[in-house]
């Protein structure tokens, strides 16, 4: 998932190269902005202003437009996230089945607020709209894994699966 490398600089050029290669492969035109940003976020883990400027320049778009798109969609983030992103479903079914207790248990367990990231950058905690997995409510998603029928008791065990 997220590439949150700590080596500051020396390896980012490799990441930029990969992004360049991806952009070169995309069919030309305005349409490619979102796929490119999705790729960039996958590579960098988040979309700091520098990356947005880089993309804007490469695609010959005003930075303001790139920024507008980044801030519009839930998938994009401008803050560095933890190695693993925990998404708690906010949907009605999950809410009815106790999503709130899950949020509380997660906050307590990780000692962070909703929207926060742990100090060791292991986890970030966010919410999301219905995943469409309501049969398993309440549902949380860690990176791309869906965990269903979560109870506060199960939280510690689930988190332990992620280093």
């Amino acid at each position: 998932m997220a590439n949150t490398c700590e080596c500051e600089g020396s390896c980012t050029s490799v990441v930029y190269e990969e992004l360049d290669a991806f952009m070169a492969d995309c069919p030309k035109g305005r349409d490619r902005l979102i796929p490119v940003l999705q790729k960039a976020q996958e590579l960098f883990g988040y979309l700091p202003v520098e990356v947005q400027e880089y993309v804007a320049q490469a695609l010959e778009l005003p930075v303001s437009e790139v920024y507008g798109v980044v801030t519009f969609y839930h998938y994009f983030t401008m803050e560095p996230r933890g190695r693993h992103t925990i998404n708690v479903c906010l949907g009605t079914e999950c809410y009815v089945r106790g999503a709130k207790k899950i949020v509380e248990a997660l906050s307590e367990n990780l000692n962070i607020k909703m929207g926060g990231t742990t100090e060791d950058r292991r986890f970030s905690l966010t919410t999301q709209r219905c995943f469409g997995a309501c049969g398993l409510a309440p549902v949380i998603m860690i990176n791309d894994d869906v965990h269903g029928r979560v109870t506060p008791k199960k939280i510690a065990g689930i988190l332990a699966q992620y280093e």
Binding site: Y75, F76, T92, R129, G132
Partner: protein
């Protein structure tokens, strides 16, 4: 190899993968092989065929029994008992009747034949095998249309079928197609709306996971009818398995000459690409979806011009829901007349729902449009699991709340409209008396407040005000007049919000007030004094200027 005597269909969809469906399948195949039955019993992966709260589910055909809550540990005993000794393991059978996809299957109430139109293959074939789709009449409709029908005749056939859009608004599909078909342009686009964002709705996901080729065939037929050469499936990013299976299906169709240039030698060119959403509820609205596909913020456009005139990249574009498109092959294969005979004459056909809540059997169902809410509850959902029926929300968070007085209204656009309601997106949430109306409304408002894009003031501030209002009512600390204020707010938002998202809270709020005013009044504290400033529409307008 001899023809197998039995098939074990393991439902592998995004929900069951999480709880180990693939492990169960692997173990099943291994155990069956270990008993030397590999040639007789085939283990297959299918999409979901209904139950969504029964763990890993597998059906044995032709026996027609369904096992639930399977784990790899249970498999050796299951294989030994069922396949070697030939007696089903009663304890693990899923109780109740099942809607096992079977073309001979009649309505479980035994009243009316309908079979399944959209889900006929779900749970019966391997969604990753184009051969199995073809063996079940797949791509027959496309072949028939290309060989025998003109594009105009195809549009007429869909018109005659009376099919109405399943994405929420219920717009007649044939009519929509005819707008786009009559446009002259060098290129036209067909878009399949698979952004399914309405909470509680996941029927489109299960259709794509269970029978992706049906969606592809529907799109190709649409492309032929409209003279479009390029299709897109816009899938929300979280639907990983749908994305995978649709992509796989597109490739398989291309390899078999069912997509690409000169399809089946007819001279018709059509190809499909997948676009992945980046997460915003409003992108499900068709013009917002087009904006998003163009790499912009997903803000709805001002209509007109409608997409049929100027849609994606300014070209004529037709947007249909996944389920709508999945109906097309049946209509072309069997003719409009046969389709029209099913369900309610005003909204012929079937409707796919995900049913959830305090019921015995949650999951995916497909029912004729003539059944009522009570039929769904009693016959398909197995009745209430606990408590008694208090209310149902029809069509996700933006849908209406109904009370027991609406149980006998048939679930279709016309019958519901007569009662001042709409059908919505295909989710039904049944609730018993433990759910408080104000709590529930608050949960709905939370969702809208989260999804408001902030572009227009009535929606941005209105949602916050509604959140505050429902929070107060929930805690029994509402100010006298709060209910009227809430009504004023949602109606105001309905008329002046820029996009349909801002209009959405009106349905749940107004229907809640209509049926549960007395209960909501208990959230009001008669002695509470309202502090200034008030959240009135006038106040909002002032903020806006």
């Amino acid at each position: 190899m001899a023809k197998p005597r039995a098939y074990v269909m393991v439902s592998v969809d995004a929900d069951t993968v999480v709880i180990g469906a693939r492990e169960v399948k692997t173990r099943l195949a291994a155990e069956i092989g270990g008993c030397g039955l590999g040639g007789e019993v085939r283990v297959l992966e299918t999409g979901s065929f209904g139950p969504s709260d029964a763990g890993v589910v597998a059906a044995v055909l032709p026996d027609g029994v369904v096992y639930g809550n399977l784990t790899p540990e249970r498999i050796p005993q299951l294989v030994e008992e069922h396949f070697v000794k030939g007696r089903p393991v009663k304890d693990w059978l899923l109780p109740g009747e099942h809607f096992l996809p079977d073309p001979e299957n009649s309505d479980p109430r035994g009243q009316q034949y309908f079979g399944r139109i959209v889900l006929d293959n779900c749970g019966r074939i391997d969604p990753e095998s184009i051969e199995e789709y073809i063996a079940n009449d797949g791509y027959f409709a496309l072949g028939k249309a290309l060989a025998e029908m003109t594009p105009e005749a195809l549009v007429e056939e869909v018109k005659a079928s009376g099919l109405r859009g399943r994405g929420g608004a219920g717009f007649p599909t044939g009519l929509k197609w005819s707008f786009c078909a009559s446009e002259q342009a060098d290129i036209k686009y067909v878009i399949c709306n698979a952004d399914e964002g309405e909470p509680g709705t996941f029927k489109d996901r299960l259709i794509m996971e269970g029978d992706p080729h049906k969606v592809i065939e529907g799109m190709a037929l649409c492309g032929y009818a409209l003279g479009a050469s390029q299709g897109y499936v816009y899938i929300r990013g979280e639907y990983k398995l749908s994305i995978e299976r649709i992509r796989h299906a597109i490739e398989a169709a291309r390899e078999n000459g069912l997509l690409g240039k000169d399809i089946m030698g007819s001279g018709f060119d059509f190809d499909i690409a997948v676009k992945i959403g980046a997460g915003a509820y409003v992108c499900g609205e068709e013009t917002a979806l087009i904006e998003s596909m163009e790499g912009k913020r997903g803000l709805p456009r001002v209509k007109p011009p409608f997409p049929a005139k100027a849609g994606f990249r300014g070209k004529p574009t037709n947007v249909n829901n996944v389920e709508t498109l999945a109906n097309i092959p049946f209509i072309i294969r069997n003719g409009a007349a046969q389709f029209h005979r099913i369900g309610d004459p005003g909204t012929p056909g079937t409707k796919v729902y995900t049913v959830l809540g305090h019921i015995n059997r949650a999951g995916l169902i497909e029912v004729p449009t003539s059944v009522t809410l009570r039929d769904v509850l009693e016959d398909y959902a197995g009745g209430m699991r606990a408590g008694t029926f208090k209310m149902a929300q029809l069509g996700g968070t933006a849908g209406d709340l109904l009370d027991a007085s609406m149980l006998d209204v048939p679930l279709n656009y016309d019958s519901l409209a007569k009662n001042g309601h709409s059908l919505g997106s295909g989710a039904i949430l049944f609730m018993n008396e433990t759910v408080k109306v104000c709590d529930f409304l608050h949960a709905c408002m939370k969702f809208f407040a989260h999804e408001s894009c902030g572009n227009c003031n009535p929606c941005r501030n209105g949602m916050e005000a509604l959140l505050e209002l429902t929070e107060r009512l929930k805690q029994g600390a509402g100010y006298p007049g709060d209910i009227a204020l809430m009504e004023e707010l949602v109606m105001g938002m309905q008329s002046i919000a820029f996009c349909p998202l801002g209009q959405s809270p009106a349905a749940p709020v107004l229907s809640a007030v209509r049926y549960f005013r007395d209960e909501m009044l208990t959230g009001i504290d008669a002695d509470a004094v309202r502090p200034r400033p008030e959240h009135t529409m006038r106040h909002l307008m002032k903020l806006a200027s």
